[in-house]
């Protein structure tokens, strides 16, 4: 079958072979990548870096985190994938920021960049800054922070809740051991007894019945909802200022999801921290978030408060996302669907990335990538379509 198949295939459809690379080209790319990667890795591995190099000033002291023109690229053997391509947004203190988008749009990579957890050496932050305001009043520029300093921030001040509670808990250690480790690592002068006491208290506070029993259990003995509670408890152990929740409820049932969301909301009040909530479920966003960031193919296409995004969406992609959510109340028998799929991340077009899926595309859209246009102090969108209608509003915002 094989060889015959191969010839037939070429003959019949004239498959376009642009996605296949020659060996020479592949070698050239990987050589180039090695050079780039080496540079960044050397930067990160330096020791005894003076503090001045990575301390900066926040633009607004009310923010915990400010992403500023962040670019995170993956240097793969088939080409450079621009996973995050110029992302700018703020996370204010005490607020929940929701990030929505399809899989592969770079929402997880954005959060991983903040934790310096992007899969190295292929993944590198190449441009831009992430300013983080620590509890002691210092302000760090995360991409420049050396590895050893980052260890002290990660897990203590910024903590993360992952999507799959099964794969992110270590199956060979008891829940208790894994929780104690966090305290023993980050708190100076913590003894195993203190750690145990605090772990059990924390398990209790996230609503786990019989916490001292759960403390001695292995992850596989717990249900999905319980594991996610353990993950949340673990994230809270060192009183973080910012929790990143990466699809915390995607693997759970609706009834358990409701429990976990309730818990997250309660936790946020208690620690007066901020939450970065990453999800593709618009319902969860509507319920939890204060501010929403909509991402598409590595860029932010719209951001604003929840009300602005849900009641007055500007970008055709945001509108499409809202309309494609099924509900029985629809009069029309057909569900709206965004046609096509996300473009190949390796060679992104020069024009608007959404052009080939957009129902409202115009001639101007074939030009350069649209700029962010401001509609209100908080509402931004990157689309030519809404640009024209908004000029009067734009002036108001300036006044």
């Amino acid at each position: 079958m094989g060889l015959k198949n191969f010839f037939e295939r070429k003959k019949i459809e004239g498959v376009d072979n642009t996605m296949y690379l020659t060996l020479r080209e592949e070698r050239r790319i990987s050589k180039e990548n090695n050079r780039i990667i080496k540079y960044y890795e050397r930067q990160k591995a330096r020791k005894n870096v003076p503090e001045e190099e990575y301390l900066t000033q926040m633009r607004d002291p009310n923010n915990v985190v400010e992403f500023d023109n962040l670019h995170t690229y993956f240097f793969t053997d088939v080409g450079t994938v621009k996973s995050v391509n110029g992302v700018t947004f703020d996370v204010p203190i005490g607020k929940t920021v929701g990030i929505v988008g399809e899989s592969g749009c770079g929402k997880s990579v954005t959060s991983l960049s903040l934790m310096q957890l992007v899969q190295a050496p292929t993944g590198q932050i190449v441009e831009g800054s992430i300013r983080y305001q620590a509890g002691d009043g210092k302000c760090y520029d995360i991409p420049k922070v050396p590895k050893d300093r980052m260890l002290k921030l990660r897990g203590k001040e910024i903590s993360m809740i992952f999507q799959e509670p099964m794969t992110s808990l270590n199956p060979v250690f008891r829940i208790g051991e894994q929780m104690d480790e966090v305290i023993l690592l980050h708190e100076e002068g913590a003894t195993p007894e203190i750690a145990k006491e605090r772990s059990i208290a924390m398990l209790k506070s996230v609503g786990i019945p019989m916490p001292d029993k759960i403390y001695t259990k292995y992850p596989h003995e717990l249900s999905g909802g319980m594991r996610q509670r353990v993950m949340i408890a673990m994230a809270l152990l060192c009183n973080p200022r910012l929790i990143i929740a990466d699809e915390p409820t995607t693997a759970l049932d609706v009834t358990i999801q409701a429990q976990i969301l309730e818990l997250l909301r309660e936790v946020k009040e208690r620690i007066n921290g901020s939450i970065m909530l990453i999800t593709h479920d618009l319902g969860v966003i509507a319920e939890m978030a204060d501010l929403v960031v909509v991402m598409y193919a590595g860029r932010i296409i719209e951001k604003g408060t929840v009300r602005e995004i849900f009641h007055d969406p500007k970008h055709p992609y945001t509108i499409g996302l809202m309309r494609s959510k099924p509900s029985g109340k629809l009069k029309d028998n057909r569900l709206y669907s965004i046609k096509g799929q996300v473009p190949n991340p390796i060679n992104m077009p020069d024009h608007c990335y959404f052009l080939n899926r957009c129902d409202m595309a115009m001639d101007i859209c074939h030009g350069e990538y649209p700029k962010m246009i401001q509609y209100s102090p908080t509402h931004f969108a990157a689309c030519y379509l809404c640009g024209e209608s908004s000029f009067p509003k734009n002036d108001l915002a300036k006044e």
Binding site: V254, V306, N333, Y336
Partner: protein
């Protein structure tokens, strides 16, 4: 022929379906322990309609689907498909029935063989069951692919070259190629993005309109089920707690579990604040479920009678059955 079809308006009838999985642990003197994955479930599906089956994970909805197709033997009950009891059909006859019932699986990444080109994946069973004459084989496959929104040049490509949404289209094409009457969709959308989900839902609806398929749609996503189904069955821990027309279930949910399930769905409108009923705790273990009503451990309205008697599924309105002691059991 016409008359028979009209009388047998129900393409599928499931009566008292039971599926127990024995636990391997033996203990002398005690009876053997079972996991009652499906315990006494009955429902009917009308020809050309869609029935949605909802419930939390572990409630046995997938087992119901697999039992209907007889992918495993059932412990008790009857599955009557097109007037024949599938549980009693000998294997040789069953094989001839197979093309009429197909299944679309949850994960499009693991349900397609990575070593077969798309054309072969779709056509393998067509060849096996001789659905079309050999001369028409290729045109039949291409037609099916076109129906499912796959371009003809994909015929020789392999599954790894496709995205999740397109893989799910391939699985649908594989099911549809056998000209089935009845398709079980086991969470076909849960691995896909919202915008792709909408495409697949539309595809399934179009195919149903054109070819009159009957779907059993298994899902935990209530908004999808609400959109696609005509009737809905709500399962909890192996038994059906409420079953009825979509409208009746969503406008007037009667069982406390259904109410909680409906209220737990996040609504994409920041101004709507729901009176949420949050269920405490997890689904109990199916090895030793609570006595009486299985939902009583998480129910707000639990009464004395709930622990003593198992509530029966009773009809309260036309086409709306509930199993709960809150509504008088007379």
């Amino acid at each position: 022929m016409e008359n028979i079809k009209k009388e047998n308006d129900y393409i599928l009838e499931v009566r008292n379906l039971k599926k127990y999985y024995p636990l391997s642990r033996f203990s002398l003197g005690k009876s053997r322990a079972y996991v009652k994955a499906v315990d006494d479930v009955s429902f009917k599906i009308k020809r050309g309609t869609t029935m949605g089956l909802v419930g939390e994970s572990g409630c046995g909805k997938t087992t119901v689907g697999r039992s209907i197709l007889r992918l495993h033997d059932i412990t008790g009950g009857q599955v009557i498909f097109d007037g024949q009891d599938l549980a009693k059909i000998p294997p040789s006859k069953l094989r001839k029935m197979r093309p009429q019932m197909q299944m679309i699986f949850q994960d499009p990444y693991s349900s397609l063989s990575p070593r077969m080109p798309v054309g072969e994946i779709i056509g393998e069973a067509v060849k096996e069951h001789k659905i079309v004459p050999k001369s028409e084989y290729r045109s039949h496959i291409l037609k099916v692919m076109r129906d499912c929104g796959l371009q003809p040049q994909y015929f020789y490509r392999y599954p790894h070259e496709f995205s999740g949404g397109q893989r799910q289209r391939i699985s649908i094409a594989r099911a549809v190629a056998l000209k089935p009457k009845f398709i079980i969709c086991d969470e076909p959308l849960s691995a896909l993005d919202v915008s792709i989900q909408a495409q697949i839902i539309n595809l399934m609806k179009d195919l149903q309109e054109r070819y009159g398929y009957t779907y059993l749609f298994i899902s935990h996503d209530l908004s999808v089920v609400e959109y696609i189904s005509d009737t809905i069955g709500v399962m909890y821990l192996g038994s059906m707690v409420e079953i009825g027309d979509k409208k009746r279930i969503f406008d007037n949910p009667m069982h406390p579990y259904t109410k909680a399930l409906l209220s737990a769905v996040p609504i994409s409108d920041p101004d709507v604040k729901m009176n949420r009923i949050i269920l405490s705790g997890d689904i109990p273990s199916p090895v030793n479920p609570p006595s009486g009503c299985k939902f009583r451990t998480r129910c707000q309205h639990c009464m004395d009678i709930c622990s003593r008697e198992v509530p029966k599924l009773k009809e309260y309105e036309e086409g709306h059955m509930v199993a709960c002691h809150l509504y008088s059991q007379d």
